[in-house]
Amino acid sequence: MTRYLAGRLGYYAALLTAAVFLSYALTGTALGPRAYFEAKQPRPSAASVDRQLTALNLNDRTPVVERFGTWANGLLHGDLGRTIHGTSVNEEFGRRIWVSLRLLLVGSLLGMLLGVAAGAWSAVRQYRLSDRTLTVLSFVLLSTPVFLFALLLKNGAIAAKNAAGHEVVPFTGYETPNLAGGIGAHLADWALHLLLPTLSLALGGLATYSRYQRATMLDVLGADYLRTAEAKGLTRGRALLKHGLRTAVIPMTTMFAYAFLGLFTGAAFTETIFGWHGMGEWFIQAVNEQDVNSVAAVNLFAAVVVLAAGLLADALHAALDPRVRVG
């Protein structure tokens, strides 16, 4: 199993290198930091713009491969460079990463767990009312963009606030500033702030997972081994849980990796709408400010997160399914 995972790790490392280089090259050529400096008032001299650009490793007169070399060298030494404002990318990165990870982890896990549960239940109750209701619901969820969820949830929270006269559910930021109280109060505050953004992220995942889980579970419902388990004398419920669901969740590991692809994008919207200062919000800002180094940092983050999810999915798959271990 370790050998299998080591093989995957090597492959992912190659992928990551290629992806990071390509995205840097793309960002470095497509964005125009020069215009940002030239637009400053009073207008700086061409030489001064060049100097500033070079200092930030942003000069478009330097070949992009060379700029990448400088950036990658910095990266290997743990330095992501400077933002277009001259501040440290590392600091910004360190501040924002936990905000985003909190949202991504809770959102994805919640979406997966609820989706798997809903899908399995839906399959067992195939063609009954509960199955049909879940099916319709999931299709509605699937045809609503994440940003629309976020907006609707936020509007709902605002309406609730207006109706109740005070904030019922927080809809901006990830914590109450200057909150007094112990660790418990802080945790509760965090959880409350997480509620709406996580929900808007998790709902889409829930719908997707539940459709896939329903399909794999339906396949398993007709499987011979489920019948064997019942023939042994296990009750239907126990057989479904121990033999059915246990096997039917295996394909979900692959889904898990794929779901992360869309999730990061969703997080960018959610963060912007709910005022979370996370990686997604930073990215949108950075693109608008032509801030190449910040965009490259977010790109790196996104690629690493997706690959980590892929590796985690592989590990889960290998742990759940003895047949891939021989690989």
């Binding site: 045809s143 629309l148 997707t208 399909a215 794929y258």
Partner: protein
């Protein structure tokens, strides 16, 4: 199942003795499916509305009517007006035009690319497979949204067609992976081996045997992609990375109207309704097409799945790979 039964059901006296081709058979089956016909009719109507609609109203989608701001639907402004005094009907049909074209084009392009790459990787295997798979994985971990956002200012000059290409280029990878794995199992199937031993060339086998057998999945996937592309377009436009004002799409309309929906419903629900109708119609057509291309569908689709008591003989256990219940997936946002 049986020929005898089928013969009793529809025995046409003057069956031609020279067989017809399968395209004509499939076309006949599409025509026979009510859902597909309804979907087609709705699609045609939507296209008519989108392209003829602008000529029905005197209002231009961009020109404001300062005399009426945020007016509910009336005889003059059929769908009402927005905060700038623009006619919502004119905006909606204009947006519909954009969304129809973007959705359909992205779906066709991305599914075509996916089936080509996936089938080649799966059928040829070896280094072709390794290189193509690496390419697919590379594009997958490349956050599509990030790339589009970075590139879109550059492409502003080349218009929405570049936007369509970008959406398509970052949408086909998951489909390609599925097509690849389906092709790999199809390649081992005996009918493909039979064709190989008859001397049929590899691209001909892909065209005649592989693609028709993954067509159910491709069609479902394409219909999902239509919806997904419209949603992606909406999301990107919301952040100013897609269709830009004064031009509109259903996505920008939804984004603009969402906040006002509780108070000024006409700003939101006309666009939302048309979007749902559009996606629904595409799904209906897709469903009908899928059934038409899958000859076993009529007999076997809604049968209970576990009538397996007597599937006992040596050869019967190999089940055909059919993906009827392929769940949908989201593409970008």
């Amino acid at each position: 199942m049986s020929v005898e039964l089928a013969a009793a059901a529809e025995q046409s006296p003057d069956e031609p003795s020279v067989p017809r081709g399968r395209l004509r058979l499939a076309a006949a089956r599409v025509a026979g499916s009510r859902g597909a016909l309804v979907g087609l009719v709705v699609l045609v109507l939507l296209f008519l509305l989108a392209f003829v609609g602008p000529y029905l109203t005197p209002w231009d989608y961009a020109a404001p009517d300062y005399g009426s701001l945020r007016q509910p639907p009336s005889g003059t402004h059929w769908f009402g007006t927005n905060g700038l005094g623009q006619d919502v009907f004119a905006q909606t049909v204009r947006g519909l035009q954009k969304s129809l074209v973007i959705g359909l084009l992205v779906a066709v392009l991305s599914t075509g690319l996916a089936s080509l790459v996936g089938a080649c990787a799966g059928y040829f295997g070896g280094w072709t497979d390794r290189v193509l798979t690496f390419l697919v994985d590379l594009l997958l971990i490349f956050p599509a949204f990030l790339v589009i956002a970075v590139l879109s200012p550059r492409l502003r000059g080349s218009g929405w067609i570049a936007f369509v290409l970008l959406l398509a280029v970052f949408n086909w990878m998951v489909t390609a992976r599925v097509v690849r794995s389906m092709t790999r199992s199809l390649r081992e199937r005996e009918f493909v081996a039979a064709a190989r031993y008859m001397g049929v060339g590899p691209f001909r086998i892909i065209w005649r045997h592989v693609l028709p057998n993954v067509s159910s999945f491709l069609i479902i996937d394409a219909t999902v992609t239509v919806g997904g592309a419209v949603m992606s377009e909406a999301a990107l436009s919301y952040f100013g990375f897609g269709v830009r004002p004064p031009d509109v799409s259903l996505g920008t309309l939804l984004a603009a109207g969402a906040a006002d929906a509780p108070v000024f419903p006409w700003l939101f629900y006309f666009a939302a309704g048309l979007l749902v109708l559009f996606v629904l119609a595409v799904n209906l057509v897709g469903d009908g097409l899928r059934d038409a291309l899958d000859p076993t569908a009529a007999a076997g689709r809604h049968r209970p799945r576990s009538r397996r008591g007597e599937r006992t003989r040596r050869g019967d256990r190999r089940r055909p790979t059919r993906s009827t219940d392929t769940p949908s997936r989201r593409s970008t946002p």
